[in-house]
Amino acid sequence: MDQKKVLIVDDEIHIVHVVAIKLRNNGYEVISANNGAEAYELACSMMPDIIVTDFQMPVMTGMELVEKLRENEQTKAIPVIMLTARSFAISKEQQEQLRISDCLSKPFSPRELLVNIEDILYQNELVAETK
């Protein structure tokens, strides 16, 4: 099985650090960014299999990042998991419209995040196989 690449985006260095350790320990390759703008550049150049991003960040927010990713033909299909400290920040409509795979509220469990990442990547693989 190919090593899957995960892009983690958060302005909180500790969150990036802890998620990166969890994912590396479970066989993932991890790249990281501190805001949406940096993440978009990395997504275009590194083409991660999945992106885990914080909702509220300086320079470019998580929502702005997803909007940009969806506008780009190259990155529009990358699944995104959103982490947010504000429970009602994203409506169901927004989530569907921007094709956000999952939203996790902070404080979150790295264990739960890992399970969600695995599920989403598995679903994507199934879809790719049927095509």
Partner: protein, 495 residues
């Protein structure tokens, strides 16, 4: 006299006419009788004829006397009336019947006169009462107008046809019309079309049939939106019909701003509290799941948990202390401490955060004689808030410098914290110490509650009689600082 003379002449004419009439009638009867006798109808009845003549003559005489008596009585009444007018009535000249009649007339006249007098008195009293009521009413109207004119809220009173009855200066300024010279004009002609939302509300609210209506209406003047709480109440007449309306427009722009700031604050606090909590939860779970594979990683995890717990505590302290200081419930424990030592302690606290962002912290050699009489915990909070703010708004690779100065002339110590951060726009500098306020252009730079600087100001100025200040330039950085009275001079002064 003229009156009685006229009566007398009238009576005399009447008597003469009556006498002539009776005389001619009796003469006519006599002639008819004579003709009948001569015709042989009453032949040989001389006695009866003579008696008839005598009776005719007596009739004329009696009639004349009766008329004369009647005329005399009437003349007496006339004279009596004349005399009565002169105050010398002589009732003896009148018959009992006439006297009774006259008395009745007099009583009636007197009663009418008395009635008229009491009526006049009553009318006079009513006029006086009406005058007083009019004065009271005018005074009341003047008072009402003065009260309405003095109200800061815009007040407009209209009749049932939406014609202006009263308005104050605030209403005139807000709705752009000459409120003093617009009485009884339709409000639609007075108020410009760009205030149509208010006009529509006023007329639509009327359809609610006398129930008070309320709406928030936005007015835009010089590109500055202002929000007004508009309440329309209805004036009812005695039949409970709506005969007018009173509209009061209260400016709630500031309240709205505060409300929005509070909502932002709750949202920011939630984020600020959850962020360190997220780290604590995640790292402790990682430790529990044995995801830290070596001792060094485990120590690193413990340190993160400890730092994030402290961060959480600072935030909770900020929130609680702001509330405590405002309510005056905070317990203040002042003691003599060295500000240099407090600064050193807080520099250690902030170092981890600065290292995360690759920001250099530059201290200076501590000043020895810098004793201040302060609450140690509160002053530590002031220093750490200013330091963490400086780090927060400085980009990686920048620096934060802290220094202290002694002002001997003023017996003050000054602390200055200078960063190479994003800076603050000039028009926002005056608000940076306001509660919940966050610099609009820097919101994207970092999260915050808008409480930290407000708390610094409250602790320095309200609790310690000091002063806070700020200088800033966008793109270059900011210097935040505070001054406190030196404890040594204070003690000397009080001794």
């Amino acid at each position: 006299m003229k009156y009685s003379g006229n009566i007398f002449i009238a009576v005399a004419i009447f008597v003469i006419c009556a006498a002539l009439f009776c005389g001619s009638a009796q003469a006519e009867d006599y002639n008819a009788l004579e003709s009948r006798v001569s015709a042989g109808i009453l032949n040989g009845s001389n006695i009866i004829v003579t008696a008839l003549y005598i009776a005719g003559a007596l009739g004329v005489i009696l009639t004349g006397l009766h008329m004369l008596r009647l005329a005399g009585a009437i003349t007496s009444i006339a004279r009596l009336l004349d005399n009565e007018k002169d105050g010398s009535a002589d009732n003896c000249e009148l018959s009992m019947l006439s006297v009774k009649k006259i008395n009745e007339l007099r009583r009636d006249i007197n009663e009418r006169l008395a009635g008229r007098d009491s009526l006049v008195a009553r009318y006079d009293k009513q006029i006086e009462e009406l005058k007083i009521q009019l004065q009271i009413s005018q005074k009341r109207e003047t008072n009402i107008e003065e009260i309405i004119y003095s109200i800061r809220d815009a007040v407009i009173v209209v009749d049932e046809f939406d014609k202006l009855l009263m308005a104050n200066g605030s209403a005139g300024r807000l709705l752009s019309f000459d409120y003093k010279n617009s009485r009884f004009k339709p409000v639609r002609e007075l108020i410009s079309a760009d205030r149509s939302e208010f006009l529509n509300f006023l007329s639509n609210a009327r359809k609610s049939r006398g129930q008070a209506a309320r709406k928030e209406i936005k007015f835009v003047d010089d590109d500055r939106p202002k929000i007004f709480d508009c309440i329309v109440s209805y004036i009812h007449d005695n039949n409970q019909q709506v005969c007018g309306a009173v509209a009061v427009l209260h400016d709630i722009t500031r309240e709205k701003e505060i409300s929005n700031m509070k909502n932002d604050f709750i949202s920011h606090v939630s984020h600020e509290l959850k962020t360190p909590l997220a780290s604590i939860t995640a790292y402790s779970e990682m430790l529990a799941d044995d995801e830290a594979h070596d001792e060094e990683t485990r120590k690193e995890f413990y340190a993160v948990i400890q730092n994030q717990a402290q961060r959480l505590n600072r935030l909770i302290e900020d929130i609680l202390n702001t509330s405590r200081i405002e309510s005056g419930l905070i317990k203040i424990n002042k003691e003599y401490v060295s500000l240099a030592i407090l600064i050193e302690e807080q520099l250690k606290m902030i170092k981890g955060y600065a290292d995360e962002k690759s920001i250099e912290i530059i201290g200076q050699r501590p000043i020895v004689f810098d004793q201040v009489y302060v609450d140690r915990d509160m002053m530590s909070q002031v220093i750490v808030n200013l330091l963490s703010n400086a780090v927060k708004y400085t980009r990686p690779g920048g620096s934060v410098k802290i220094k202290t100065e002694i002002d001997d002339a003023e017996s003050m110590i000054r602390v200055l914290i200078t960063d190479t951060g994003v800076g603050i726009p000039e028009d926002e500098i005056e608000h940076v110490f306001d509660k919940y306020y966050r610099v609009e252009t820097n919101k994207k730079q970092a999260q915050g509650t808008g409480l930290g600087l407000n708390l610094v100001k409250q602790i320095v100025e309200k609790v310690h009689n000091g002063r806070v200040f700020v200088k800033s330039r966008v793109g270059t950085g900011s210097t935040f600082g505070f001054e406190l009275p030196l404890a040594v001079k204070n003690t000397a002064a009080t001794a």
